[in-house]
C-alpha cells in the first residue's frame, strides 16, 4: 500500500511526502494517504506472516520508501487473555494488549520507530520531541541506538523515573518550566529554527502512522478478527483514532471482514477536555490546565480531540473520565488480576473499563481489548502507600509471629 501524499484532514489539500505537518491553507493536521495495495489479500497476509516479529512485519502499511532502518526492535507485544480481570468485572472475554513489553516500556516505541525510519529517509541527523515522558524515553533510546543526536523537551515537573530513564541514554534533556502544552508550543517555535526531526511536530504524520501497528497486531493475534470493543487512553487523541484507522485499512485491503469495533476512550478527570466535549455533545475540545497523576495523558489542548470525539460517537462508544483515586484502583486491579503493573495511563484505561462494565455498557458476551500503554515502574510513586511491607527480624519466630494470624486464617 504505497504512501502517495500527505493530505489535510480538514480540507483534503494534498502535499508531497516531506517533513510537513500542518495544512498551509486551513492549519488542519496532515495525514499520510495511500494508493490501493499492489498485492491481493492472500499475498499481503503471506508477506506479513513472513516478516520479522516486530512492527516492521506491517511495513506494507507504513509510509516508508525502502526497507525500514531502525536499531531497536519494537512491537509484537503480547495480547493476553485476562479471565480473572473479566470475572471481577462480570465480563466474559477481556484481552490485555501489553505495551509495557516494548523496548522503553510504552507504545511510544512504535510511533518513534516509524518517525525515525522516515526521518532518516528524509535526511535528518538529529531527533527531537515534546513529551509527557514516555515519548522522551523512546526518542532518547531510539536516537542512541541509531547513533543520532537527540533533544528531548519535557515539563520540568515530570515524574523522576521518566526523567532518569531519558537522560540515561545520553541525549539532551530540556526541562521546561511549564506544562506539556507550553512545551509543545515551544517545540513548534524551536522546530522552525532548527533542522531537526521533531517526531511529534514536523514528522508527526509519519509518527502517527506507527500507532496503526497496534491495531494490526491485535487483529493478527486474534486470528485475523476485529474485537467487538476497544478501550484505549486519550491524550492527544492520536493513538485512539489511529487504532480505528488500522482496522479500516485492513478491511479495505481484504485482510479482515468488515466490522466497526466500539471505541471507548479513557481520560483522567483532571485533564479531560475530550471526555468533556463528548459529554457536552460537541466536538469542540475546550483546552484545560491539567491537574492529574496521569501525567502521560496530561495534554490540555489535544490536537486530535475533535476526531476522537467523532470516532467514539460514530462507533457507539464513549469517552469517559476517572478520578485519581479510581486511577490508583485501576492500577491495582490490573496488577492483581493479570500480573501487569501499569503506569497511571493504564490505570485510567482499566478504571474506565471497570466503569463501563459497572454501568452495563458492555454486553458480557463481547470480546473486549484493553490497551495498556505503559509500565508501572515509570510512575512508581503511585504504588507507595497502597500496601504494607511486613518488616521483621531474620528469624523464623519473628516470621511466624508476624504472619501467623494470616497463615492460620488462610487454612
Amino acid at each position: 500500500m504505497p504512501a502517495d501524499a500527505l493530505k489535510c484532514k480538514e480540507c483534503s489539500a494534498s502535499y508531497p511526502l516531506e517533513a510537513r505537518y500542518v495544512c498551509d491553507r486551513c492549519f488542519g493536521p496532515l495525514e499520510v494517504s495511500y494508493s490501493a495495495p499492489e498485492q491481493d489479500a492472500a499475498e499481503l497476509k503471506r508477506r506479513i506472516q513472513a516478516g520479522p516479529h516486530t512492527l516492521w512485519r506491517y511495513a506494507d502499511f507504513l509510509p516508508l520508501e525502502g526497507t525500514p532502518r531502525t536499531a531497536l526492535p519494537t512491537g509484537w507485544t503480547p495480547l493476553m487473555r485476562a479471565d480473572r480481570l473479566a470475572e471481577r468485572l462480570g465480563l466474559q472475554e477481556v484481552w490485555v494488549k501489553n505495551e509495557t513489553a516494548n523496548p522503553t516500556h510504552s507504545f511510544k516505541d512504535r510511533v518513534v520507530s516509524v518517525a525515525l525510519a522516515r526521518a532518516l529517509e528524509l535526511g535528518f541527523d538529529t531527533f527531537a520531541c515534546a513529551s509527557t515522558g514516555n515519548l522522551a524515553n523512546a526518542v532518547a533510546a531510539h536516537a542512541a541506538a541509531a547513533g543520532l543526536a537527540s533533544y528531548v523537551f519535557i515539563p520540568a515537573d515530570l515524574e523522576e523515573a521518566k526523567i532518569l530513564a531519558t537522560g540515561a541514554y545520553g541525549g539532551n534533556v530540556i526541562g521546561v518550566r511549564g506544562n506539556y502544552d507550553d512545551v509543545n508550543r515551544l517545540c513548534m517555535e524551536v522546530s522552525a529554527d532548527h533542522p531537526w526531526a521533531f517526531v511529534n511536530v514536523n514528522v508527526r504524520p509519519y509518527y502517527a502512522e506507527g500507532s496503526k501497528t497496534l491495531a494490526f497486531e491485535i487483529a493478527e493475534q486474534l486470528s485475523w478478527e476485529i474485537p467487538d470493543r476497544i478501550v484505549a487512553p486519550i491524550a492527544s487523541g492520536s493513538l485512539f483514532t489511529k487504532l480505528a484507522r488500522g482496522f479500516e485499512e485492513w478491511v479495505d485491503a481484504g485482510l479482515l471482514e468488515a466490522k466497526v469495533p466500539v471505541m471507548n476512550g479513557a481520560q483522567a478527570e483532571g485533564c479531560s477536555p475530550v471526555a468533556q466535549a463528548f459529554a457536552a455533545g460537541t466536538d469542540v475540545c475546550r483546552p484545560v490546565k491539567p491537574n492529574t497523576i496521569a501525567k502521560s495523558l496530561a495534554i490540555g489542548n489535544p490536537a486530535d480531540g475533535p476526531y476522537a470525539v467523532e470516532l467514539a460517537r460514530a462507533t457507539g462508544g464513549s469517552v469517559d473520565s476517572v478520578t485519581d483515586d479510581e486511577i490508583r484502583a485501576g492500577i491495582k486491579l490490573l496488577a492483581e488480576t493479570t500480573g501487569i503493573f501499569t503506569e497511571t495511563a493504564g490505570g485510567v484505561t482499566t478504571a474506565v473499563l471497570a466503569k463501563l462494565a459497572a454501568r452495563g455498557d458492555i454486553d458480557p458476551a463481547e470480546r473486549v481489548v484493553v490497551c495498556i500503554t505503559g509500565d508501572g515502574l515509570k510512575t512508581i510513586d503511585c504504588a507507595r502507600g497502597t500496601f504494607e511491607v511486613h518488616e521483621i527480624d531474620p528469624s523464623v519466630e519473628a516470621f511466624e509471629t508476624e504472619m501467623g494470624p494470616q497463615l492460620q486464617a488462610a487454612v
Binding site: 492549519f27 509527557t132 492527544s236
Partner: protein, 91 residues
C-alpha cells in the same frame, strides 16, 4: 492599540514573508481584522465562514491561549504581543 503579531512559518507567505506584523484594535478580533485588511489572504486561513477561529488555529496573548481568556473578544493593550500557532500535539 498597536499590537505585534508573531506569525508561524505557514502564514508568512500570505504576509509578504514577514515573521511579525503589527495591527491595531481593542480586542483580539479587531486586531485580526486589522491584520486581514493589510493581508487579505490571512482572513480565510485564520477564520471560518462564521468569523470564528478555525479549530486548528491557536492564538496566544502574552503567552496565554485566548480560549482561557475571552476568546476573540479578549481585550488587548498597547504593546501587547499575539502569537498565532497551529494546534499540534504528541505525547
Amino acid at each position: 492599540m498597536a499590537v505585534t503579531i508573531k506569525l508561524p512559518t505557514q502564514l508568512r507567505t500570505a504576509a509578504n514573508g514577514q515573521a511579525e506584523a503589527t495591527a491595531s484594535g481593542d480586542t483580539v478580533r479587531a486586531v485580526l481584522d486589522g491584520l486581514s485588511q493589510e493581508h487579505p489572504e490571512l482572513r480565510e486561513r485564520l477564520l471560518d465562514d462564521g468569523g470564528e477561529l478555525r479549530r486548528f488555529v491557536n492564538v496566544y496573548l502574552r503567552g496565554e491561549d485566548i480560549r482561557f481568556l475571552s476568546g476573540l473578544d479578549t481585550q488587548v493593550d498597547d504593546g501587547d504581543e499575539l502569537t498565532i500557532l497551529p494546534a499540534v500535539a504528541g505525547g
